[in-house]
Structure formats: C-alpha cells, structure tokens
C-alpha cells in the first residue's frame, strides 16, 4: 500500500489553506498521526485527498492509481475518509448504516457475507447490543464508534480519520485507537489519523506529521517530532516529554 501526494494546494475562495503539500513516506501497517493546532488545514487536507474538495494540479495516487483518473465513487472505495463530526437523526439502525458503508453504494443484493461482516465489526467494537437502535438515539460517543465501524467495514487501502476519539471517554479512546492500530497493522494499509491529543499520538502512532498554517512542518518518529522545538513553537507551549515506567511516551504541556 502506497500513498503519494504531490503539489497539493487548496484555497477557499482565494484564501489559501494548503500550500504545496508533497509527501511520500507514509508507511503502511502503522498509524500516522497528523497533528497541528486548530484551523491549520488538517480537515481540508483530508477532504482534498478523499476527493470531497476539488484540487487542481495536485497529483495524488493510492497504490499507483491516480485520483485524477478515477471516478469519485471508485476512489472512495479505496480511500475512506471519516469526517470529524457526524450526527444524524435518521430512522436508520446501527446495523443499517454499517451495512450501507459495507455496500459502498454498489450491488443491490445484500449477501450473507455482508451481514456476517457487519455483525463481526459490531462485535469487535463492542456495539453489538446497539445494532437495532436508531443512530439518532445514540450518544455522541456511540455515534463516533459507529462511524469507525463504518470505516473499518469498508476495507479501504487508505484510512483518513479525522479526530476519531474526540467524543470518547478515556477507556474508549484507548480501545478505539488500539483497534485502529491493529487493523492498520493486520491489513498493511496506510492510516492517517488527525489527533489533538498528543498523548494518544505518542502512544499509538508509528509516525507523526506536524502541520502548521497549511504546510507540513515536520515528519518523523513520535519521540523526535514531539520533542522538537518546532512543535512547542507551533502550539505556543512548553513541552515536556517523558517515558513512564511501563515504557509509554507521555507529553506534558504548559504555558
């Protein structure tokens, strides 16, 4: 699994948001954390790569397949973007919406395999008991887990997850990040996960990319990027990075 991005620029009505983003070394099989302050272009970056926003002149390819030469619906079968916020009042059950993601808009028939795959994902994410609930009746955190179930069940080559744990409690944050890491490893796919929580980045990412004002400032191993002066400057804080006794990297920030 490979992802190439070259010369990605993007503007919202003449307001440039992304500048000349060219990245190559996204390693398959490990989680890449995309970090950076608010309004720095992380979501825009995802939306450009996923094809929700039109990019002119950028060259983006997954596994050698060029985005410019691929139909949207086909592109999104390989590239799975999970938007940051999701709330729906639809009269659709959890099972319905995960099945919908699994079908990827194609194929009229729902096979036993489809049903089995959906049931399996719900079990893995420990939300089997919610399968017949309407998504609108769930809490924000539960909806977020459903959203992750939708992403995983599609079996894409590239995950773009925008703040997948923002509405989750501590235990669920760890559980969900563990599952994302396991799935990425087991499938050998590229997973780029936007995270605000630097501790989660330190703990689960094999690679960290730091964005600032629409540019990629730094990219490398978690301990290197997180302890860099650029990171402290980007966020405008002092960073103290330590390894706990159990070997977990922790990041403490102070003003």
């Amino acid at each position: 699994m490979t992802l190439h991005i070259q010369d990605l620029n993007f503007s919202y009505a003449n307001k440039p948001v992304l500048h000349d983003i060219s990245v190559d070394g996204f390693l398959p099989g490990q989680v890449t954390a995309l970090i950076g302050p608010n309004a720095t272009g992380k979501s825009t970056f995802f939306r450009c790569v996923a094809g929700l926003l039109k990019t002119n002149g950028a060259k983006i390819s997954v596994n050698g397949v060029d985005k410019a030469e691929t139909k949207r619906s086909e592109w999104n079968r390989n590239v799975c973007y999970m938007p940051q916020l999701f709330s729906s009042n639809a009269a659709l059950t959890v099972f319905d919406v995960v099945l919908l993601a699994r079908k990827n808009l194609v194929g009229k028939r729902v096979s036993g395999n489809d049903v089995g795959a959906v049931a399996g994902i719900l079990e893995k994410l420990k939300i089997s008991h919610l399968s017949e609930f309407y998504v609108g009746d769930l809490s924000g955190g539960q909806q977020q887990i459903v959203s992750i179930a939708q992403a995983i069940v599609r079996n894409p080559a590239l995950f773009l997850l925008d703040e997948p744990t923002s509405a989750l409690d501590l235990r669920h944050q760890l559980e969900i990040m563990t599952i994302i890491r396991e799935e990425t490893r087991a499938r050998g796919v590229v997973a780029i996960v936007a995270l605000h929580d630097l501790n989660l980045a330190a703990r689960f990412a094999g690679h960290v990319v730091l964005m600032r004002e629409g540019r990629i400032l730094l990219s490398g191993k978690p301990e290197d990027v997180l302890s860099s002066p650029e990171l402290a400057e980007t966020y405008g804080v002092n960073i103290d990075i330590q390894k706990t006794k159990s070997g977990i990297l922790t990041v403490a920030a102070s003003l």
Partner: protein
C-alpha cells in the same frame, strides 16, 4: 474478520434478518391493503350496483350489460386506479423531497410546485393563456404541468448560482411559493365569478377528471422515475447520514440533489396537473412509511408509494361515502382522514423517527 462466526455475531445477524423479514412483510401487507382498498373503491358508488356485479364486470366485461360496464370501466375503475397512482406519485415525491432536503416538513408543495401549478391553471381559466400550444381540452392541465416544471427550473437555476445545499433549496422554494401564491391571488382578483369558482374547484382537487389516458401517462412517468430513484437507493440512504458522511462514501451530493429534484418535479407536476392541489399526501405518506420500516430506501421508497396510494384510495372512498350521491373534493378529505390516521400512528409508535 474472523472466519468462525461467534455466538454474538450470529445473534446480531439473526436480529437483522428478523427485521428484514418484518420489513418485507410490511411491504406485502401494504400491497394487500392497497388492493382491498381498490376493490372497495370500485364496488362503492351511488348507483345500485352490488359488489359481485362490479367484480363480474371487471373480470368478464359485457356479462353485466352496457350500463354496468360503463359505470365500472368508464367511471369507477379510472378513478380508483388514478387515485392510487397519483397518491403513489405524491408519496414518492414527498419521501425524496424530505430525504434530499433533510427536512421532515418538506413535500413537493413546500417548494412552490403546487402554487405554481395552481397559477398555471388560473392562467388557463382566466386568461385562456396557454403555455403549451395546441393543448386543446387539456389546456388547464397542460398549463398546470408546465408551470410546475417552470417553477422547478427556476429553483434549479437559483440553487446552481447560490450552491446546492438543503437550506438554499428550502429558502428559495418558500420564496417561490409566496410569489406564485401572490400571482394566483392576482388572477383570482381579476377573474369573473364563474372563473373564480372554477379556480377554487380546481384547487380543491378532484378525481372525477380521471381517464384511461391519464392512467397511461401516470404509469409511464412512474416507470421512468421509479427505476431511476431505485438505482440511487444506497446514495439516498447515505444522504440521511449528512452531506459529509454521504460524500465520504463517494456520493456526489450536489448532483444527486439535482437529479432527484428533476424526478420529484416530474412526479409532483404530473400528479397535481391531474387532480389539482392535494395537500398532505406527500407529507404524511412518507412519515407513515418511516415509522413502519425506517429510512433504508430499499423499504422506505416502496412503502412511501404504497402509503400515498392508500391515503388517496381511502380518500376516494370516503369522498363518495359521506353523503350518498355527492362526491366531495378530495383535497378536503385527504387532510380530514390523513391527519387522524397520522396522529394515531404518532401515538402508537413509541420509537421516535424524526426529532
């Protein structure tokens, strides 16, 4: 994914299969009820025709004499069938309008399509002005149809300029509704007493204008639009998860909205030009379907059509049952029978479906 399915996984799958069976059963039940309603509608009327005679005349034309044949084949059957077709069209149009606008209050009429149709009809009645040349005896109907299509095109043009979001479409639609209502009022102000009553009766809606031609046209429109809607089943279901989520699944949200708007306009314009402005069917039909099977379009779409058809069919029965010998305008009846039914469903179904 593990190869060996766990207990829990099997249990989850079983629950889904059970619900699927239930949804299919509800569709079948809907079809049966619709058929019963059709039979009742055909066998009920002011002439002293028994149920058995009516059925015999349908199965074996000619066996019951010319008079019975005329009543059944020229009067009752066209009305009964057109009621169902028009109701189905309005139900479908309302269901998809609510889906693409993400708004439970939307129906073809909220976006000014019915006001436009009424204005078109008034143009024909008052000024004898024909939008469609050579419409002949179908002048009023053709004008109503043409004006609804013009309204849809205007809506389309505005949303193209301003961006194809649900909010823009609703706002522009409401603005158009008021515009056409004002134009209609202007027509009524200048109309003679006779013309005024024609306009009012047209707007109250009537199935008495039913004919086999109209049934044929309605069938053709449905045969074009329904497969088109069905082919977008998953995309439409995805749209109910929000624009972003649908787009991330590969749905071209803007294009889908516009495509659907065209289909909806065609359905609504045809329905309204045939029977006049019939309120509430397009609003209530989809809500009934949603409460029963949810919003998975594979079930929501057909049941919305059935629910719309059933409301209109029941309307047709009630409109001739209230006072023997008098057929009340259906526009009055749809609300009178549709709303209590709808309210009882809201009370009966605990599960919320749109809040």
């Amino acid at each position: 994914m593990t190869d060996i399915a766990s207990e829990l996984q099997l249990e989850t799958a079983k629950k889904y299969h059970r619900r699927t069976k239930k949804r299919v059963a509800m569709l079948a039940l809907g079809a049966v009820v619709l058929l019963i309603s059709l039979i009742v509608d055909v066998s009920w009327g002011p002439s002293s025709l028994t149920f058995v005679d009516a059925m015999k005349a349908i199965i074996d034309p000619g066996s019951q004499g010319v008079r019975t044949d005329v009543i059944v084949w020229d009067l009752r059957l066209p009305i009964a069938i057109l009621a169902i077709l028009v109701g189905a069209m309005l139900g479908l149009a309302g269901a998809e309008m609510q889906t693409i606008l993400n708004n439970p209050l939307a129906d073809p009429f909220t976006l000014g399509i019915s006001s436009a149709a009424a204005f078109g009809a008034a143009l024909a009645i008052v000024l004898q002005f024909n939008i469609v040349p050579f419409a002949g005896q179908y002048l009023v109907m053709a004008n109503a149809f043409a004006m609804s299509i013009i309204a849809s095109l205007m809506l389309y043009a505005f949303t193209r300029v301003r961006g194809v979001t649900a909010e823009t479409m609703v706002l522009v639609g409401i603005a158009m509704m008021f515009t056409f209502n004002a134009l209609l009022a202007m027509m009524q102000y200048g109309a003679s007493e006779n013309q005024l009553s024609q306009i009012v009766f047209w707007m109250m809606g009537s199935l008495s204008r039913a004919s086999w031609d109209k049934i044929a046209i309605a069938t053709v429109v449905l045969m074009i639009v329904v497969p088109f809607f069905v082919s977008r089943n998953w995309s439409l279901t995805a749209l109910r998860m929000g624009d972003d989520k649908a787009a991330s699944l590969g749905v071209n949200v803007k294009r889908l909205r516009i495509e659907m708007l065209i289909g909806i306009s065609l359905l609504a314009a045809t329905a309204v030009s045939f029977v006049g402005t019939v309120a509430f069917v397009g609003l209530v039909g989809p809500h009934i379907a949603r409460m029963i099977v949810g919003e998975d379009q594979r079930y929501f779409l057909p049941l919305s059509a059935f629910a719309g058809g059933l409301i209109m069919s029941l309307t047709s029965i009630v409109s001739k049952a209230i006072t023997p010998g008098v057929i009340y305008p259906i526009g009055i009846i749809t609300s009178l029978i549709g709303i209590p039914f709808f309210l009882s469903l809201i009370l009966a179904v605990r599960r919320r479906s749109w809040s």
